[in-house]
């Protein structure tokens, strides 16, 4: 069980960085795709729930106090619409991995984020589901639209002493 004060701190911290998460996500997606993004669903605190997306790329991170996960989800048809000329699906998946990598890197280096979450160890992006207990996490989720494609972006944080690891 989480102590309520600890949980409140996590909730307040993640809520405070929701706007920064959106900025980093939009910038990474727009730079890599060279296309504009539209906000389809606001980036804000949401209840943990399964993200039905077909494809989901994760990057796990953490320090001694908390574990954190950033993810980007989209459907297979959305992936095809993002890269219509790409014959090799792997190249599209690779681009999604790089987006997540850039979102994490740029978010973690922002002073506003670091003042709340300190320094974090990062890993390389993965498409395999991490062992992260979402029901115990605080989550910011938003959806960006690129052309017809919807990208579901999620930032999840939980204190380390609540079990499990990223």
């Amino acid at each position: 069980m989480l102590h309520s004060s600890q949980d409140e701190r996590t909730r307040d911290s993640i809520q405070d960085v929701a706007a920064e998460f959106e900025v980093c996500a939009r910038r990474a997606v727009e730079c890599l795709l060279n296309r504009p993004t539209l906000l389809s669903k606001a980036f804000r605190l949401r209840k943990p729930s399964a993200v039905e997306s077909g494809i989901r790329c994760f990057i796990a991170s953490g320090n001694s106090d908390q574990t954190l996960m950033i993810s980007l989800g989209l459907s297979k048809s959305d992936l095809r619409s993002l890269f219509p000329d790409e014959k090799d699906e792997e190249m599209g998946l690779d681009a999604i991995g790089e987006m997540v990598n850039i979102i994490a890197g740029t978010l973690f280096r922002r002073p506003g984020f670091r003042s709340r979450f300190d320094r974090l160890r990062t890993s390389v992006p993965s498409f395999a589901a991490p062992s992260f207990e979402m029901e115990q996490a605080r989550i910011v989720r938003g959806v960006l639209k690129v052309g017809e494609a919807h990208l579901i972006l999620e930032l999840a944080v939980k204190p380390c002493n609540c079990g499990g690891k990223a």
Partner: protein, 127 residues
């Protein structure tokens, strides 16, 4: 004669973008690309390019380790660090001898970014 470059990044998508950018916009010859630090060191030994671009966060061998090995063997190597991770990691690489760094994401179509990129290259080759 065109300047030569080796680009090392674990994202094949980004490698392709950077390869096109170096060739078509910066007028370099991309002699090879690699996806991890082991390949980076091997490719540097093999081609000894005018410039090597190294990503920091890579599987197998990271960019900082590759940088240390390359500069240990080739102290005059021109290394440009490219990374989404800022702060202390970048500073360590500059202290180790990297000539410059560029933070991801790259706005490759942006004129201001191109200007900055050109300036960075000029400074690297002036050192």
């Amino acid at each position: 004669m065109k300047r030569t470059v080796v680009i090392v990044d674990d994202s094949k998508f980004l490698l392709r973008l950077m390869q096109e950018y170096f060739q078509e916009v910066m007028d370099f010859e991309v002699v090879a690309t690699g996806v991890n630090g082991v390949q980076g060191v091997d490719l540097y030994r093999r081609f000894q390019p005018d410039l090597i671009c190294l990503d920091l966060t890579m599987p197998v061998k990271d960019g900082q380790t590759a940088l240390t090995e390359i500069l240990g063997e080739f102290p005059e190597a021109r290394v440009l660090i490219i990374s989404a991770v800022g702060g202390p990691s970048i500073l360590r690489c500059i202290k180790l001898g990297a000539k410059a760094y560029l933070e991801k994401p790259f706005r490759l179509e942006d004129e201001e970014f191109r200007k900055d990129f050109r300036q960075t290259l000029l400074e690297i080759f002036a050192k």
